[in-house]
Every structure is written in C-alpha cells, then in structure tokens.
C-alpha cells in the first residue's frame, strides 16, 4: 500500500518548475471519504496531489502509518475524520485527536518538520470544504518542498 507510489510517476514529470507534492491522505470511511466523493461528484476542482487511503475511522490511524509514510518519502500526510461528536463509532475521532496531538507535539520536539503532517475534520456534506482544505495543504507543502530530510536514504 505505502510503497506503491514509487512507480506512480507524476504526470508533470519533465517540467521541473511544476513540481507537485505527493500527499498521502487517510480519509475516514463515513465522513471524509464521502466528502471527497461529494467534491468529485460535484466537479469541484482540487489539486491532484493527494492519494487516498480509505480507513474505517480516524481512530484506526496509528501514528506508525504517518511516520512510515514520511519515511517512505511522501511529501505530506493528510489525516481527515468526522467532526468531533459525529463519529460513526461514537468516540473514535476523540481518541484519535489525543493521539494526533501528542504525535504532532513530539514531531515538533524532534524538529521533524511537523507541518508535513496535517489533521482536519471534514463531514460527508462538505465537498467544498474538502477541496479548499486540499488546496491549503498542497500549497503549504509546496512551500516546504520535497521531503528529503526525513525520507529514508536507502
């Protein structure tokens, strides 16, 4: 799942000025995945920088996934779940929120570009919001440039 992107050549290759970041997006099945789907169905444009991994709940996302993605060379990680209180499994995203909070804090402490890891809440009805968020994250990661610091060397 995580290693496949190496053969996934960006269509902008050749034109180096138009470097597009590759962002792995973990979307929760019940809200954010449906939100992304709505954005697609409504033909709302957003940058083609994200590759989606559907997870049952944001509570399913282990910090290992995020760290491993960075190690594998993804330029950014996007994690999205239901708004607090709206979790399909009642408290999955609340448990996840604490987990993400300490992950982000420890990344900051270690000085490992915490801005590459982004968390957000998107509901199934928020296609517009999803597209705006992806735009925001993509431009933020374009500013950071390719993930050379934390990607594994060999």
């Amino acid at each position: 799942m995580l290693a496949d992107h190496k053969s996934d050549q960006s269509h902008a290759e050749g034109k180096k000025a138009e470097w597009q970041p590759k962002i792995i997006a973990f979307l929760c099945n019940w809200c954010s995945y449906a939100g992304a789907d709505l954005a697609g169905v409504s033909r709302i444009q957003y940058p083609p920088s994200i590759r989606v991994v559907r997870v049952p709940c944001s509570g399913r996302i282990n910090p290992y996934f995020i760290i491993k993605s960075l190690l594998e060379g993804w330029d950014g990680v996007l994690v999205s779940g239901c708004h607090p209180g709206d979790c399909h499994y009642i408290s999955g995203n609340l448990v996840a929120r604490r987990r993400f909070a300490i992950l982000k804090e420890m990344l900051e402490f270690f000085g490992i570009e915490p801005d590459r890891v982004n968390f957000m809440w998107v509901s199934a009805a928020e296609g517009e919001r999803f597209s705006n968020m992806v735009k925001k994250v993509t431009s933020a990661i374009m500013k950071l440039g390719p993930n050379t610091q934390f990607a594994r060397k060999w």
Partner: protein, 334 residues
Amino acid sequence: MVTAQEHGHVLESKLRTVASELLKEKKVDLIIGYSKGTIPQRSSPYIARNPADTSNFIWNNLGYTNLAKYLLAKRKKKVDNKEVDLKIGVVAKGCVGRAINQLIVEKQVTRENVVIIGIPCNGMIDLNRIYEAVGTKEILDIALVGDDIVVKGRGFEKKLPFNENINTLCKACKIKTPPITDVLIGESNNLPIDEKFQDVIAFEKMPANEKRDHVQQLLHDCIKCGSCRQACPFCYCKLCFVDQNKPVWFNKTFDMNDILVFHLIRSIHLAGRCVSCGACYGACPIGINLNELTRKLEKLSKARFDYVPGMDLKTPPPMMAFKLDDDQGFILEE
C-alpha cells in the same frame, strides 16, 4: 540535618527488619529489593524468599532499576493444585511506587497482590557524571561519606558533592516517597508538585532546525540495543513495534531517521504514562541523556492533560480517555 550517608544507613537497617517480619508473618511470598551489585557502581535487583535472605538487602543511591518491571512477569504458585498469584513485596522509592500505581491503573498488576514497602528516596547518583569525573579508570568502590560521594579505584580517590551529582530527574523530583504505601519506612519527604519545566520550555522555543540538530546530536550514538525498552516498566507489549515485521515500521539501520523513529515512537507510547524514574537513562550503555525526552514527556502530560502519572489508582491515563472539548489548536481550519 541528616547527611545523605546517615539517611541511607538508617533506612537500610529498618528495611531489613521490616522485610524479614513480612516474610516471617507470611504476608508476602517474596520481596523484591536491591542487593550489592556485581560491579560497585550499580545495585542489583534481588529477590528474598525467606527471612534469612533479607540481610542481603541494601539501600543506597545506586539502584537504577525500576523494580516495578519485575511485577510484570506474573509468576504463579501452586496451592492445592490450583495456580494462585504470588503476593509480592516491593521495596519502592517514589518512582517505583508511582510505576506500580500506573501499572495497576493499566490493569497489569492487581493491587491485592502487591505490598508496597515505601522508602523516602533522596536521589540516584548520575553515573555518567561520575564517569566524566573519573575518566576511563576502573571504579573499585563508591560510597557516600557525609554529603559527598567518594569514588575509589587503583591509585585515585575522588570526592564529589552528592547534591550536584544526582540524576537531573531526581533533582526535579517532587514525589520521592510512593504516594500509596502498605508499609512506610521512615517519613515521607514528598514536596508539592509545582513544576515549571523551564528547561523544556527553553528548548521548545528554539528554532526547528536547531532542535533537530540538538536531538540528532543527542541520539547520534544510539545503537538501538533496546536497553531503554527492557528497563522501562511500561514497555510490556507482547510484540514491540521494533520487532514487528508485518509490516516493518522502520528499518534496522543506523540511518539517523531510523534512530529518530525508534525514539519518537517510544516517547509517543510513553506519553502520559512515564513516571520519570530514569531507568532508561540508567540502563543506556552509551550514556545517552534520555532524561531530556523524559522531561518532555513529563511536561507534555502535565501541560496538555494536567495529569501526573501514578499518583492514584482511579484517574485513567490521558491516552486511555478523552473529552469532547480537548484542545484542537493543531487541527487545520479552512
């Protein structure tokens, strides 16, 4: 004012009588404590099974092992062909007591099966400072004389002030006696918890690249031997993430990123649980100052969740609980 040397001596003799009485009255099956180590600068964990064994117990400032770790073995005894839990006495300084409490909250240890023999601790000697002062010479004897540490070896004798050469965690420690005890030796010397974490805050204010350089410098020599994990009372996963190979979470190389990931995930696992006992620091064969990570975890738990691990048996640790109105400043908004 009692000197550090007298403090230890008084406790040691009291500890032996209390321990042998507990064993004589069959209140416990065995008692875990410290005895003289195989090298002079470390006390070994020691298990006393009958009253005569208790004369081997010692109490000094060289017990780096967190004895709560030994409760996790969960050995049983046979009574009328039935397997029954052992009742274990533990010689507990403040951090060992807190670790036991935390393990009880995490349902790894049953309260009824532990007898906490509380000891007011006055700090553990920071061995790396001693090695710095002594150099590569072999240490043959290390003892407290008055308020000084006296290190002896072939052709040298060094005197170092005790208060300045204890572990940095012990310097900042407020809970020197276990918060919950069954038997208390001596008097509790706990202080009110009013930690400001100035050292951590000063570090956090540094720019990201300086922080990165500092952490990389700190962990540069790590050989990922896993001593810190083995010493930690809270690393009791049946299969550690380090050993998982389906998938492999990070590579077993000495690439800096792999070392960083090991320590990063280890600290994430310990967030809100670490009792800052310094066992990882004491166990590290390279002498990496893991206390810096421990201090950060201590601050994270206090500042973010207002939780001090191991103080009672009721409050669930922060990573086992949640609130609807938790801080979510780090989450992106449109």
